[in-house]
Symmetry: C2
Subunit: 378 residues, 2 copies
């Protein structure tokens, strides 16, 4: 549902086929787009009118669907996280390499235009050496409707695989990608939702840059008040919405909750009204000659003696940068920053956070990759 406005607003994209297990979703797709609704991913991938496949299935299904698309020679946009296990990630990276197709892991908040602009400007060296990044985000993630596996860590549930992955992606994008070591602590503090709901981590990069990542999905403090009261999806938030996630969940049985989540798919969901760029919470990137503060509308630059603002214009729809990367890959054979290797590297950090929290030790990272700054067609 979140990608619908993005596809609809972009003349470079035509939705010609879709696969979904629910007839309601397939029917809605055929009615709205005049394309073909398939019951299986394999059938969709066999459709010769398809050039690229967007995979938005549950995490644990990514590997099968990526393999199906790669085998059929289609370029792929797969939702984050690339996979839950590093083994699956390896399989996918190898499969797309052998097939000679592009794999993009996204949308992820590392695609947010303020992040993209900040990463390029930092890489240009104009602010001096990047020294430290602080990223934090306090959301209601853990109390949104969930399927049961989304509350089991070993199946990719909890805030690590769905949320930390964004923060790691953003921080790696700003710092160039090559993380080095991480030490972390996690919290699983609600016995009714017994998976990680929070974490805090210190990470280093090969460049010497240090980073501090903190996340809570326990639905109390809302750090969007430090993001101009703009929500993750670029929507304006109002104070009377406070506590909504917990209130909505209070009277639901686990079965009702799973049903609610499962039916929130194409043909039944509602669209968010975005007016700003998406974001993943406050981020401060400290360079020698300026600190950059990311906002939903651009980047506040705190220089030596003056403040300035780099605008990141919103529109025409959210997530345009994801399609820039996809069109670049399909039309110009241009490799995106958020490739399979990139997604695997961010996934490695998720696992390292869990490992470090369990052992109390610093964990060395061995599957990192550099951010290649793709020049998008726009």
């Amino acid at each position: 549902m979140l990608m619908v406005p993005t596809f609809d607003a972009d003349p470079r994209v035509k939705l010609v086929a879709a696969a979904a297990p629910r007839a309601e979703s397939r029917d809605a797709f055929e009615r709205d787009y005049g394309g073909t609704g398939y019951e299986s991913v394999e059938a969709l991938c066999a459709d010769p009118s398809v050039e690229a496949v967007y995979i938005a299935t549950p995490h644990q299904m990514h590997v099968d669907h990526v393999l199906a698309a790669a085998k059929a020679g289609k370029h792929i946009l797969v939702e984050k996280p690339l996979a839950i296990s590093m083994e699956d990630a390896d399989i996918m990276v190898n499969a797309v390499r052998e097939a000679g197709v592009h794999l993009i892991v996204g949308p992820s908040h590392s695609f947010d235009l303020p992040v993209d602009i900040a990463a390029r400007r930092i890489a240009s060296g104009e602010f001096g050496t990047l020294r430290m990044i602080q990223a934090l985000n306090y959301t209601d993630f853990l109390y949104r409707p969930r399927r049961p596996e989304e509350l089991r860590t070993e199946e990719g549930g909890g805030v690590l695989f769905s949320q930390a992955i964004h923060q790691i992606d953003v921080v790696r994008r700003l710092a160039g990608g090559m993380a080095d070591k991480i030490v972390a602590m996690t919290g699983a503090w609600d016995p009714k939702r017994p998976t990680e709901g929070a974490f805090t981590a210190l990470m280093t990069f090969e460049t010497g840059c240090i980073a501090n990542l903190t996340y809570s999905g326990y639905a109390h403090f809302d750090s969007d008040i430090w993001m101009n009261n703009v929500g993750e999806l670029g929507q304006t938030k109002t104070p009377d919405a406070y506590g909504g996630a917990r209130r909505a969940l209070a009277d639901l049985s686990p079965e009702d909750e799973a049903r609610l989540k499962t039916t929130r798919t194409f043909g039944s969901g509602k669209t968010i009204e975005a007016e700003h760029n998406e974001h993943f919470g406050p981020v401060i990137a400290m360079c020698d000659r300026a600190d950059l503060r990311l906002t939903p509308d651009g980047i506040e630059v705190f220089g030596d003696t003056e403040r300035s603002f780099i605008e990141a214009p919103f529109g025409p729809a959210p997530r345009k940068t994801v399609l820039d990367a996809l069109v670049g890959a399909v039309r110009e054979d241009s490799s995106p920053v958020q490739s399979g290797e990139w997604g695997r590297a961010s996934l490695e950090v998720c696992h390292a956070i869990l490992t470090s929290a369990a052992s109390g030790q610093t964990v060395a990272l061995r599957h990192q990759c550099k951010a290649q700054h793709q020049e998008f067609p726009r």
Copy 2:
């Protein structure tokens, strides 16, 4: 200078004597307060009209001056940090114990009324178990005028001993004091001011609470924008003040700078106009049933389904809680939370941050003490 409005506003305090090396300061004191200006601390401590001594000398002099006051049987309020070395801290703790006098380390931001109220309310258990604290602060500390030793770490310079000590004090106060382990990274990124200007740390407590502490004194991002645009001293800040510290420093020689700092003492400084409680940057304390966000005017409580606010009324002057503790110690033999043992425990954490940053290892803490909630006379 910062304590002058506090003393002036409090009818429980009478300034009867002062010691200062500069005649200008002594003369100003005698003129303003009608008391006696002494050249030496020892002479001041011998004055029978003195009940308690406030020591605001440079860090490295604290040990001699605390010993002089303890030997004379005076109660002591000594500025943070208690000392630079743990050895000096031990000497001071032992000396005041033997002398049977109270030693209070302060002012420190752990005395700020919102911190004090939050610590008591957390300790009451009304919000459930405290799980995580995030504290951050971005200031212009490194570019304020400094004496040369304030830019040498081994002499107590840099942000650890003067600034981290506040953040550690605040976090320990909220979590009850018994820190357990810490892992940290530091940055000394300006070759012209070659001491630590930033750090980030993860700390655990015996209770299981985890904490994230981050600080930068590099005068770029100013986190007071997340504190209702109120500065550390409770003053309202205006955007046109941005960059003031660096601008003021730009044309000064090191000699001019040291002179400027040295003469900013009683009789020559100017007073800050505080309208709110002091603070030390954004602090979020996460409990099972609510997150508490400290502000200069009180505590925002983000509960399960509702937000509320606990007021922390300001006035009549800043730092009244410090005098509450001092009066309690002198008049009622009541031990303050911020005792010598407490100050030593916070100092230990400063050293542990430096040790961890140098070694890359987690450091175990062995000199911690509990926060005893003193009931102040008010």
